[in-house]
């Protein structure tokens, strides 16, 4: 049985028929168009399975599987959108999904890292923060600062910090958050969030699918 989270940039899989199932990644643009999986989520997921789970439901169920707490905020930062689930006393309290004006943040961060040949795990956290509400619109701030003499890496770092602050505010400015998605591996982004952060990695929605399919969770 194969479960998959079809993201914009990356698709996350787990093959539960494998002797020791381990989640793995593939670039979405490299997927076979005829691929079919048993249970899917993610914004591209409906094309690849007849059993589709809404991304917010997969995120919520993933949080229930992985977080040993009744009160928490779980934020998922993807390539094209950001979404969060807030639980109080073990029950859903609030949620949000920003696919429009919070769009393309993760995608733009990766694009900039490659374009400027940067390593976000070594860049220092900048003092300056750009006011960024959209990945695409935020790029103009970078270009403005670079033309004003700012170092390229410092400008991009300020942009990434701006994205982190925007995501934090979108999630309701919590004191602590659990973070889901590929940006968990981006030290600059994680340390720019002005709160306690518990990174859960890229496979939270897969854990949600396992719970929905009543399958044992895999590390």
């Amino acid at each position: 049985m194969i479960l998959a989270d079809f993201g914009t940039s990356y698709t996350k899989f787990i093959d539960l028929t494998a002797p020791e199932p381990v989640p793995y990644l593939r670039a979405t643009k490299e997927l076979d168009r005829d691929l079919k999986v048993d249970l899917a989520t993610g914004h591209n997921g409906k094309r690849f399975s007849s059993h589709y789970v809404n991304e917010l439901i997969a995120l919520a169920r993933g949080g229930e599987s992985l977080i040993d707490d009744d009160n928490y905020l779980l934020l998922d930062c993807g390539s094209r959108d950001i979404k969060y689930i807030r639980y109080r006393d073990g029950k859903l309290q609030d949620m949000g999904w920003n696919a429009e004006c919070g769009a393309s943040m993760g995608f733009t961060i990766e694009l900039l890292e490659n374009y400027y040949n940067l390593d976000f795990n070594t860049l220092p956290i900048p003092d300056k923060t750009f006011s960024v509400t959209c990945g695409v619109l935020g790029i103009s701030s970078i270009f403005d600062e670079i033309t004003s003499g700012m170092d390229e890496s410092a400008a991009v770092a300020s942009f990434v910090k701006g994205i982190a602050i925007n995501a934090f505010r979108f999630a309701g400015s919590p004191e602590k958050m659990y973070l889901s998605g590929g940006l968990c591996d981006n030290r600059l982004f994680v340390e720019s969030l002005p709160c306690e952060v518990v990174p859960l990695g890229r496979f939270v929605l897969l854990a949600g699918l396992q719970k929905i399919g009543k399958l044992p969770a895999t590390d």
Partner: protein, 263 residues
Amino acid sequence: MITLPSTEEISAFLNESNFQKAGIVGVPPLAVIRELNQRRIEILDLDAMLVLEDMESTVSLLPRVYCAILRTVVLNAMHLDLDAIFIDTGPGKCDGAMHVATVLEHSMDIPIIRTVNSDREPFGHPFCRTQMGLTDKFLTITERVKSPSLPENPPPPCKPTAGFWGVPPRDFSILSLFPDTTHVYGWTRCMENKTPANDALEAHNNMDIPTVFFSQSFCAKTALARLLARQHPHALYLDIDVHTGSSAKAKIQAFLELSGVQK
């Protein structure tokens, strides 16, 4: 300052005219609806999607960033062959409608008749509280705006499992996501009650059921929707513009499912 015609003046005006087809915006006073019905003038609710024309054709008259309901009013007015428009511009509708009335007066060759509905006599709101598909519920409530009489056989109330607070959305497609036992609150309830300016009834909601607080983007009611959603223990606030995106539909679906509401 614009002087509003009295009901008597509207009646005298209708005596001198030979109107066949009138548009209404918002909920004009019951006396006006009664006059139109008695004279067998066909009523078209311009808040509803009545034509399939491109919304972009309204940009010469209204900004793109404007309430989608009022943009729809202008779209309908531009493309329907109407003899007059009765537009409610009081607190039972909105300031936006008042300005749209001015826009229509400057761009249409038909009478634009402003009203202020301050009716206080409650008609009841049985369709807001009965078991019925939410889309059908809204179609019935919005259709009944054109009628001056009580429903002949009001449907019985049901026990609510979910709530929908707000105005009738421009795009009804979100309504199919809700269970038949969804109760309707907010301005839609005021509308069925024929008291559109009843702000106490508009603010009423049920704290015991998961409720979606909906408003059209750029509508002044977004402030009230957000306040009520913050005060409610189990709420989802949504504002939607012309069309409902997949993320908004997914939010409603997830909210209801994670709240344990059965479709």
